[in-house]
């Protein structure tokens, strides 16, 4: 039973993570836009423009350099009039024009020979130097390369007789092909979707393999490895989140137990209201109010400096200057602790009092077990069991919560890295970050499920319902 459940659970988890990775890969591809173009714009100071007749070679070489010459995914679903090598056309303008022409004619070889003829014609015009005709044809062909409507192409083919003299052969060829194209129409069967299988040699697979090997690619902004950036950021977030969780439990455990044990009076409901208010208090509001205070040394917040983070990072951090480090971290930690502590307190209180009402506790009381032993040996372990699930859910929640706190306090953690990357449109960093968080969250949930079962013999899996009961 357990093994069946385990296999089922892990396989669905892996499948969903794979789906997420596919989704994020295509998001990244779409959002980043034309990478070849933007990279070249950055290199040539914004003047990377090519004519369709000349672009394809240059563009394809650039794409090869960036490893974009492969098909994007394992398969493609396209109408059968598209050739399975259609992904090899790289230059976006050329892709658009050839697609339009293909849709009108339904004959790929015709479209290809049209473009080949156009290119050779253009090369010939550039080679043979005849002032009037060369200028005329150069302009004409450049115009034609941008045309995607067959009727307009046809009308553009009509030229004065004296212009065709040096290029009679090319002109004749082109006319024949255009005539053929005008006649050709796609049939109904050309529209049936066909799946092309490309195999493992594709962009997604390469990307995914790199990620499994721990290589998240390079940042689009500063060319550094994303892994290095994450490595720098993760310790800060871990420190702050770890301290926040520690302090939250440190305060909430005794308080929650106390609230559950003492009899209900009118002031206890006020404490509950205060806890609820603390939980509802948005951390980013408190953080920004605190920062307003922290910028004024006259209020006594001089221990915090918004620019001390890099100094601390370079000078060894906690191991070298523990006091300075803890003081610096104290404000973010406070902002993230109070809400969690308030939530945990009411959570522990309710689960503790729920366990207190169980028959076995009443039985233990009648047996005469004293208060302290009852609470800490019989009630507390049972009351803390649901916390296992809770901790798994807490980690993504804390990372989410720490985003704004890190941004406000200028802390160089993961949250700020994410927001900075979004603002500077550094998509590889953003999406690998999201993927990392997704993997961590899913693993945490899985782990908590199993820990719960291992620690509580009352919980059993039922394999057919795919859930813990």
């Amino acid at each position: 039973m357990m093994l069946t459940y385990l296999i089922k659970r892990i396989s669905t988890l892996l499948l969903s993570l794979w789906l997420i990775s596919v989704c994020l890969f295509f998001l990244q591809r779409y959002v980043a836009g034309d990478i070849v173009m933007s990279q070249n714009k950055a290199r040539t100071n914004g003047t990377f423009y090519l004519h369709p007749l000349e672009a394809e070679k240059v563009y394809r070489a650039e794409a090869q350099r960036l490893n974009l010459q492969m098909p994007p995914f394992y398969f493609s679903l396209k109408a059968s009039l598209f050739p399975d090598t259609f992904y090899q056309i790289q230059y976006p303008e050329a892709v658009r024009i050839q697609q339009e022409l293909l849709l009108q004619t339904g004959n790929w070889s015709l479209v290809q020979s049209y473009f080949n003829t156009l290119t050779t014609f253009y090369e010939n015009v550039k080679r043979i130097n005849q002032p009037a005709q060369s200028v005329f044809w150069k302009k004409k062909l450049q115009e034609m390369a941008f045309l995607s409507d067959l009727s307009i192409i046809q009308s553009a083919m009509v030229v004065p007789a004296e212009m065709s003299t040096p290029f009679t052969e090319d002109y004749r060829k082109l006319t024949v092909i255009v005539k053929k194209m005008v006649v050709s129409k796609p049939s109904f069967f050309d529209w049936i979707p066909v799946m092309h299988w490309y195999g493992l040699n594709n962009q997604y697979h390469a990307w995914f393999e790199n990620i499994l090997a721990g290589d998240f690619g390079t940042s689009a902004r500063d060319g550094r490895l994303v892994t290095d950036k994450l490595k720098e950021a993760i310790p800060w977030t871990l420190w702050v989140n770890g301290l926040a969780i520690f302090f939250a439990y440190f305060f909430s455990l005794p308080l929650g137990i106390l609230m559950a044990v003492i009899p209900h009076k009118s002031w206890t409901s006020w404490v509950n209201n205060i806890l609820l208010a603390l939980y509802a208090l948005p951390a980013f509001w408190v953080a920004s109010l605190l920062l307003y205070q922290a910028t004024l040394p006259s209020y006594g917040f001089s221990f915090f400096s918004i620019s001390a983070w890099t100094y601390l990072q370079q000078n060894g951090g906690f191991s070298e200057q523990p006091v300075r480090f803890l003081l610096q971290v104290s404000l973010p930690v406070f902002c993230m602790t109070y809400g969690l502590a308030a939530y945990l307190t009411s959570y522990i209180q309710s689960s503790f009092s729920k366990v207190l009402g169980e028959p076995y506790i009443i039985y233990a009381r009648t047996k005469g077990i004293s208060g302290f032993r009852l609470y800490f040996k019989h009630v507390l372990p049972n009351a803390l069991l649901p916390q296992i699930v809770f901790i798994a859910g807490i980690i993504p929640a804390l990372v989410t919560g720490s985003v704004a706190v890190e941004v406000i306090f200028n802390m160089p953690g993961m949250g700020r890295l994410l927001i900075d990357s979004i603002h500077s449109q550094d998509w590889p960093t953003v999406y690998s970050f999201v993927l990392l968080i997704a993997v961590l969250t899913a693993l945490g949930l899985l782990l908590s499920d199993f820990l719960l079962v291992l620690s509580d013999p009352r919980i059993r899996f039922s394999a057919n319902k795919n859930e813990a009961v």
């Binding site: 669905t12 988890l13 499948l15 969903s16 993570l17 789906l19 997420i20 989704c23 994020l24 998001l27 779409y30 959002v31 679903l77 396209k78 109408a79 849709l103 796609p186 109904f188 529209w191 979707p193 209201n273 609820l276 208010a277 939980y279 509802a280 208090l281 948005p282 980013f284 509001w285 920004s288 109010l289 920062l291 307003y292 910028t295 993504p396 929640a397 990372v399 989410t400 985003v403 704004a404 941004v407 406000i408 994410l418 927001i419 979004i422 603002h423 449109q425 998509w427 953003v430 999406y431 970050f433 999201v434 968080i437 997704a438 993997v439 969250t441 899913a442 949930l445 319902k465 795919n466």
Partner: protein, 384 residues
Amino acid sequence: MSIRYFFIVVIFFALFGDWIANEKPFYCKYNGINYFPVWESPMVKLGLKKWPADFQNGNWQDLNFEKQIKTLIPYSPETIDRKNLGLKGPFDHQQINSLHDRHWMGTDRIGRDVLSGWIRGFRMALSVGFLSVLMAGITGIFFGGIAGFYGNDRLKLSLFKAIFLVGWIIGLFFWISQGLATHWQNKFIIYWQCIWLMLGVIGYYIPSRSFSIALPVDWTINLMVQAIDAIPSLFFLLAFLPLIKNPGIIDVIILIACVRWTGIARLVRAEFLRIRDLEYIQSAKLLGIHSFTICWKHILPNALGSLWITFAYSFAGAILLEAYLGYLGIGMPPGTISWGSQMQQVRESPSAWWLAVFPGLAIFLFLFSLQKMGEKMESTRFKI
């Protein structure tokens, strides 16, 4: 009790915010003609009524009316008060003609009145919360209900219907993967889907129980829920917002609903699983009641009790997410006025405390009352 009053105030501000804070006067006399600009402005926008040209493009503050009754706060959220540019605080000296013109919550960097923007924030928060919970609720109830009611082995299809469904889905996937709209594909997709629709209709009338296949809907929906739940909601929003070219508030609402439906779906699934095995559902099935009617009339009302609590929490979560995004300055068009975008300005000028305190207070009160409401619902639910 007090929470109820708070919500009444919120709804009042959301509905009548334009009547409280508006640069247009309630009533004015201009060139001898009486106008009711606040009342008439929607009609003018719809083209049902005409105003003089001075009204349409002029600055309302500079017009010389013969008579006028101003609104309580004589500024719209978008009005730029050129005399009080650059962060005038509530207690600072303000360049105003009378006490009525005072900016009670100060102004922001470009001279907009904070109080009127604050009142507009109620509408923003309420609509974000309401619409996203509505969308998430509909989606969550739909998918959760299907998953809970049918499970993996109860939704059986005849072979014909299954073939029709697969063909239909392939057609849809093909259409989407090709970018949804080019003339020829549209034509083809219509043919394609018509063929499969016809097959499906034929299949509906051919009794073929022996060739039936059970669709693993529960597994599929669980997979979807698991995949979306693995990404924390803020990260989901941050990952998907760049996909939209010029995101507006409605895109944010839809994305929030996309993240939030999974929690509702899980709850609905669990409730449906519990209720579908109860005796009254079994007897309803024996009576031959259609399964849709069973779900809609007999299971859903029973499940709704615990759903309302989740709705309240989702409402709070949606408002917090929207404020968060506004505060981080991501995903909102530059002109949007909400509590989050008001607070965002504090990041550039930390000394303008009024831009942080008032919107933050509103967010806090809103969240607190929603949490309180949820808690109250939780405690009263089991007493009934």
